[in-house]
Amino acid sequence: MNETPEKTTHFGYKTVAENEKASMVADVFHSVAAKYDVMNDLMSFGVHRLWKRQTIASSGVRKGHHVLDLAGGTGDLTAKFSQLVGETGQVVLGDINSSMLKVGREKLHNLGLVGNIDYVQMNAEMLPFPDNSFDVITIAFGLRNVTDKDKALRSMYRILKPGGRLLVLEFSKPKHEALSKAYDFYSFNLLPTMGKLVANDSESYQYLAESIRMHPDQDTLKAMMNEAGFEQTTYQNLTGGIVALHRGFKY
């Protein structure tokens, strides 16, 4: 009897069945949702705010735009986009994880940001929107958790309006050997310990470190975006390449 070989993907350094990854990633984020913002500040020493500022600066978002903040989590980017697009614009905060959406919605409501924000639980590989719907799509620290990244990029391309742009903010590969070694030491030794102390969850932060290493480097991701149909694709290394901001347009 012939068994169909099961498709596999990576979950950190582990190899898992493709259909299991989404639920495993979901478990990670259910676990960290409540402490997500605190941990972000702690882990990055607050620099994640500057990375996100650069994303907003490069987005070109303006009054009346329709923006999708994919894997938007606790809504840092959505909060700014909501103010910039104004009453005539619309921001969709999308995340596959209900716990993250819940934390995001509560936070944005407490900031008084209501009226032009929709909250949608969605899978980046099958975005539930018509073609040519959005002026700007951002995915910040989310793409590396997606099972089929190529499929997700094609899905984003489909729903982007002609002239629209995609911004991918994601951990990447440091450009210098010394920085890379220091970063490795920090990620595999200090990060899980911090996760254990603050969020009582070292496994999720071990997964974070491993998933970053398994994520495509700058040039590979750029090639993947081009393959999905994006044009004028460029990337900008932030903090020595620890994070990279990719930008591509649809024409």
């Binding site: 705010r49 500057l50 990375w51 500022r53 490069s58 909501s82 450009k175």
Partner: protein
């Protein structure tokens, strides 16, 4: 454009300013300070309502930086920008000219002098210039929320008096220093004093010579 440049400049990632994202950091501080000022003087926000959601790009030539300003949701949003980005108004000038824009009346004069390039809606630049040049924070009112009306007024009066005295001292110091630098100081003696000194010196020399001669005469008389 700037993003392309940044990508091409990946070999410059060791640059400390790029590594620490200093422009972003500085702009986030400026944004925070200006938004605090907006809260303290609500008139500024009122004046900026005419440019709500409009994007002003400011190219600071001597810093080689472009900044975008958007007034939205009663807050100022300030970010780095690309020159090619969409804007409702774009101004390009060096930092001295931008500081001079505190007076909106000289805007057209600066354009004629080619010190300022302006594209788009002139009213947007004028609105920002006008709003920030007339910023007037009611400090006693703000302080009263923390320490009460009377102490706040007292403290304010003291601070104003200190400021007044400070400016008087500064003016006096400046005038003293100016006169010290400008006036001729008696570092050397007057030529007449020198002539007198020389005369006295010559007389002394003559007297010493006379004594020397007498001593020699006496020594000769003794030895003989």
């Amino acid at each position: 454009m700037a993003l392309d440049q940044a990508t091409e400049k990946t070999s410059d990632d060791t640059n400390i300013s790029t590594f620490l994202m200093l422009p972003n950091f500085v702009l986030s501080l400026v944004e925070r300070i200006l938004n605090q000022a907006l809260k303290l003087d609500p008139n500024v926000a009122h004046k900026l309502t005419t440019v709500k959601q409009k994007r002003l790009l400011v190219e600071v030539r001597d810093w080689q930086q472009t900044i975008q300003l958007v007034f939205a949701d009663e807050k100022l949003h300030i970010y780095t920008a690309d020159n090619s980005d969409y804007s409702d108004c774009m101004i390009s000038a060096d930092i001295d000219t931008l500081v001079a824009l505190k007076n909106p009346a000289i805007l057209t004069q600066l354009i004629r002098q080619d010190k300022l390039d302006l594209q788009g809606d002139l009213n947007i630049a004028q609105a920002y210039s006008g709003a920030f040049s007339e910023i007037d924070i009611d400090w006693p009112e703000q302080l009263s929320a923390y320490i009460g009306d009377a102490p706040a007024q007292q403290l304010y009066m003291h601070l104003m008096s200190l400021k007044h005295q400070g400016s008087k001292v500064t003016a006096k110091l400046s005038s003293t220093l100016t006169s010290l630098f400008q006036d001729e100081l008696a570092v050397t003696i007057h030529p007449l004093e020198l002539a007198q000194f020389k005369q006295q010196n010559r007389e002394l020399k003559g007297q010493v010579a006379a004594i020397e001669q007498r001593i020699n005469t006496l020594l000769n008389a003794i030895t003989r």
